[in-house]
């Protein structure tokens, strides 16, 4: 079983479009939308929900005004300034550490676990999909990502599927660490801008830190060919496989508006490029070595 996580450092680089196309091109796979903070994959791969589970996040403190004597012990102890002068807990600031609960002399603080969202197993025209909806302003998205990946692995094992394709979250923090740790490989979708290069460096360092082999792909590479060259040079210098480049193509947005994966919508230049990127990624994931074909795409 091979688990591929597609990440991007920053949002808006075409990560979800590439994931949707891969989900269409790969045989026998489970799809995961691990961008639980702002899930988008369901817009292009419509799911039919088969199973729905609540997601239990952390605990949260709540002061019962009837029992509270306003002694101030909790306010003194809280390192997150989550308790107001009139002893109301700010739910957004509470970290769920329970220190106030421990020190409250009259047991006036309730400390129950919160349902932070739901996760789903769905059928799609492209195979099973595991996805979630995190409640607004909820924490613990890293934990939720782990739950989704575990479920996807169970399904893949049970069905004897070869692939797990994960649409990862942006950034390098907690949810990304959760979606990359232990994956077979990551594909970083980059764009040829100054910030694209900057972001690629940071996610590549993260992949190296977590010891997951990394590949790079430059989307809209022809918007700024010089910058694309710099990104590819960076990748080569840092032992990242270059999986290919994708040209700017209005079909990308058009496919999104039509709510389809690009490779199912068009046979234009971007769709053809994504097919070839997928072949390189597939080969790399099989061997975890460097495929030579990437060189050809760039020079042709």
């Amino acid at each position: 079983m091979k688990e591929l996580t597609i990440i991007s450092g920053k949002g808006g680089t075409g990560k979800t479009s590439v994931t949707a196309s891969f989900a269409s091109l790969a045989q026998h796979k489970v799809i995961v939308d691990a961008d639980v903070d702002a899930a988008d994959l369901h817009l292009v791969i419509p799911p039919e929900i088969r199973r729905q589970e609540p997601f239990q996040g952390g605990h949260i403190a709540e002061i019962d005004p009837g029992r509270c004597t306003q002694c101030g012990e909790c306010r003194l102890r809280c390192r997150f300034d989550a308790i107001s002068e009139d002893f109301v807990v700010d739910r957004l600031a509470c970290e769920g550490c329970g220190v106030c609960v421990y020190f409250c002399p009259v047991q006036a603080i309730d400390f129950s676990r919160q349902v932070c969202g739901q996760w789903f197993v769905s059928d799609t025209g492209r195979g099973p999909m595991v996805h979630a909806r995190l409640g607004i302003a909820q924490e613990n998205s890293g934990l939720l990502v782990s739950v989704l990946r575990k479920e996807a692995r169970a399904i893949a094992e049970q069905k004897g599927y070869e692939w797990i394709i994960v649409d990862g979250p942006p950034g390098i923090g907690c949810p990304v660490i959760s979606s990359v740790t232990g994956a077979g490989g990551v594909l970083v979708i980059s764009e040829p801008t100054m910030s694209g290069l900057h972001d690629l460096k940071r996610v590549n360092e993260l992949a190296a830190f977590l010891r997951v082999p990394a590949m790079a792909c430059v989307n809209k590479y022809d918007i700024n060919p010089d910058m694309s060259d710099r990104i590819i040079a960076y990748a080569w210098d840092h032992k990242m496989e270059v999986a290919g480049v994708i040209p700017y193509d209005r079909d990308m947005t058009a496919a999104m508006v039509a709510r389809k994966a690009l490779v199912d919508f068009s046979d234009g230049p971007a769709a053809r490029a994504i097919r070839s990127v997928w072949e390189n990624v597939r080969d790399f994931m099989k061997t975890r070595g460097h495929s030579k074909s990437a060189l050809k795409i760039i020079s042709s």
Binding site: G9, K10, G11, G12, T13, T16, D37, A38, D40, L43, G58, H59, R77, R79, F80, L92, A93, E95, G96, C97, G98, V99, Y102, F103, L134, I136, A137, Q138, E139, N140, S141, G142, P169, P170, G171, I172, G173, C174, V176, I177, E191, P192, T193, M194, S195, G196, H198, D199, R202, E205, L206, F209, L210, I223, N224, M227, T253, M256, V257, R259
Partner: protein, 278 residues
């Protein structure tokens, strides 16, 4: 005055709006890039004389000579960051939320406050713009404490512009808390609308006033304007989809400096925001 720029999702032009707004104002501005996982504003602002400070968080340090293996620290820690095993106590600094609970309960005085590096706080200036940003250490999972640190640099005498991280969970909440007005940057596509709806729910949960900026406004559908109208949220500005904007962005040049007339439009955006917040 604190104006936060948010977007639900990255890549909608949030940094373009934040940096262009900062560079278009006559008044002194402090720009705080709170997207500490992928800070980008400095690429466009190009600050000079950068100074860097390491930012740390408290983690427990156990003196095993004093420890009696009573297990009190293990019992209070909600995050399995300190664990008593047999005669030893182990700490897992990366899981620690710095609540200091273990420090407070240890009866043997065996725990002292150590530190773990969260990342860096960087300050620099470019003309009348003072830029402050955080850069999360690669491998560090928790961004909110670093975001808090960046926000401590807010100035009472200046206009503070906060570039928020993407998403709807803890990092965004940390960045938006205390803002007087939130500008939500979106694109008129189905993805953009999906993310905008999440962003609107987030600011509503936080009870913050907001307005919308539609980037690449001529590139997709009209659904976004319809949504804004139904929700009674003002569309404060529309930025066209132009290749020269994309190209200047790719070179690290903010829209307001690359496109004639943009600077005035951003200055007007600011006046509109000030009118809305009174």
């Amino acid at each position: 005055m604190i104006i936060a720029i948010a977007s639900g999702k990255g890549g909608t032009g949030k940094t373009t709006v934040a940096t262009s707004l900062a560079l278009s104002l006559e008044a002194p501005v402090r720009l705080l890039d709170c997207d500490v996982e992928e800070p980008n504003a400095h690429i466009f602002i190009r600050p000079e004389n950068e100074t860097r400070t390491t930012v740390t968080a408290m983690v427990p340090e156990v003196d095993l000579k004093r420890c009696t293996a009573c297990g009190a620290c293990d019992a209070i820690c909600r995050f399995s960051a300190i664990v008593q095993m047999g005669k030893a106590v182990l700490t897992f600094p990366e899981m620690c939320h710095s609540c200091e609970g273990c420090l407070m309960v240890c009866p043997a005085g065996a725990i002292s406050a150590g530190t773990r590096e969260l990342g860096e706080l960087i300050r620099g200036t470019a003309g009348s713009v003072e830029l402050v940003y955080g850069s999360l250490r690669v491998g560090e999972a928790m961004s909110p404490p670093l975001i808090h640190r960046v926000k401590q640099e807010m100035s009472d005498s200046r206009i503070n512009i906060i570039d928020a991280p993407p998403g709807t969970s803890c990092p965004v909440i940390s960045a938006l808390t205390g803002a007087d007005f939130v500008l939500l940057v979106t694109e008129p596509t189905p993805f953009g609308l999906n993310d905008l709806i999440l962003a609107v729910e987030t600011v509503r949960t936080m009870k913050l006033p907001c307005g919308i900026v539609i980037n690449r406004c001529d590139s997709g559908t009209d659904e976004t304007r319809g949504y804004a109208e139904r929700q009674g949220i003002p569309v404060m500005m529309e930025i066209p989809d132009r290749r020269d904007i994309a190209e200047s962005y790719s070179r690290g040049v903010p829209a307001c400096l690359a496109i004639p007339g943009m600077k005035q439009r951003f200055a007007r955006l600011m006046t509109d925001i000030q009118r809305k917040t009174g």
